[in-house]
Amino acid sequence: MNQLNLRKFAVPSLLGALVALGCASTNPSPQLVDARRAYDQARMSEASKLVPARVYTAKQALDKAEKAHKDDAGSFEEKSLAYIAERQAQLAVSYAGIAKAERDMKTAQATYDQRQQQALHQAQTTAARAQNQLASQSSELEKERTAHAAAERRAAAAMASLSELAKVKEESRGTVMTLDGSVLFVTGKSELLPIAREKLDQVANALKEMGSGESVLIEGHTDAQGADSANLALSQARADAVREYLISRGVPQDKVRSIGRGEQQPVASNDSPEGRANNRRVEIVIQNAQQAAASSTSPRR
């Protein structure tokens, strides 16, 4: 390539030199000088690579001008052909400029398109990921909601089954379920009757459905017959028996406390047999954290 350029360059120069030698008195016209310079610039520019055909056309135009100079130096034809040759060389450079700009534009456009495509793809990926996340979050939420609803339903059902077993009352100290003492125990004893076990099984099942914040307090009560201290001991023993049984049926140990109240908290008169029967009882109190705290600090009488 270099050698070829050298030769291309050498030919017109040599031709010019020969002409100069042949007719020493006739110098090339200023137009021819300009044309040679313009051609050399075009030949050494990017035009040789980008628009070689144009550079060749410029070369042919210069050759014509050189020939006219040789044949009739200083003629109008020489000057005109040189004028044309100079512009042919400038045209080659300009066409190379156009080709280069168009190439740059295409490259830029391709890069732009590619980046747009990437940005779009990224946006779609992000959106899809967000959608998935949202979907899994809402399904998680839905699961939790379902589980919570089921737990509440079970708790309500358990409570309903308890209210069939015994008297249930809402009091400030909690939900109070009262079990008839005669159903649970033989008079004066603290061993549970078989029928009591059956009932307490259902109580245990209901208590197992309690919320985590709730706990159970089991209170034993007696009537006023007999010594206070004996009644207190009996009521404590009975409450303990119920507590032990509930724990044995799966109610968490730390959720159940028991206390004997003796004859101190009658619900009816101890003067009649019916009143005394009502006073002989076990109360199962389901308490929330606040109620539990209040009852554990209240003084024992």
Partner: protein, 115 residues
């Protein structure tokens, strides 16, 4: 004889010396006019680099037409060709600048999209 002269004119491109009688075809004038119109159409007249060549093209077109009327066909042919090449160069320079402008705009667009 005329045939040989014509052949000579084709190979060397232009007639010179003793062949002054060779007529300029009318298409030479219309070709030049068409080149000037085409350059004007792309805005060559208002392009700083192209404007000079537009001026030269128009002047030389008028000059060539005058030479034709005077019967100086050989000189007219050269002058008309000079006018035509100036118009062509004016158009190329205008298109070159427009293409460069578009290329810069495209590259700027890419730069704004960023990476």
């Amino acid at each position: 004889m005329k045939r040989i002269v014509l052949l000579g004119a084709l190979t060397t491109g232009f007639v010179f010396g003793g062949c002054a009688s060779n007529p300029v075809p009318p298409a030479k004038v219309t070709d030049t006019q068409a080149s000037i119109s085409a350059a004007e159409a792309v805005g060559a007249t208002s392009n700083p680099r192209a404007a000079l060549h537009m001026k030269l093209a128009k002047e030389q077109l008028a000059q060539g037409e005058q030479l034709l009327r005077d019967g100086d066909d050989d000189e007219a042919r050269l002058v008309l060709e000079r006018a035509r090449i100036d118009a062509e160069l004016a158009m190329a320079l205008t298109r070159e600048e427009q293409a460069q402008h578009q290329a810069r705009a495209s590259m700027e667009k890419v730069r704004q999209v960023g990476r």
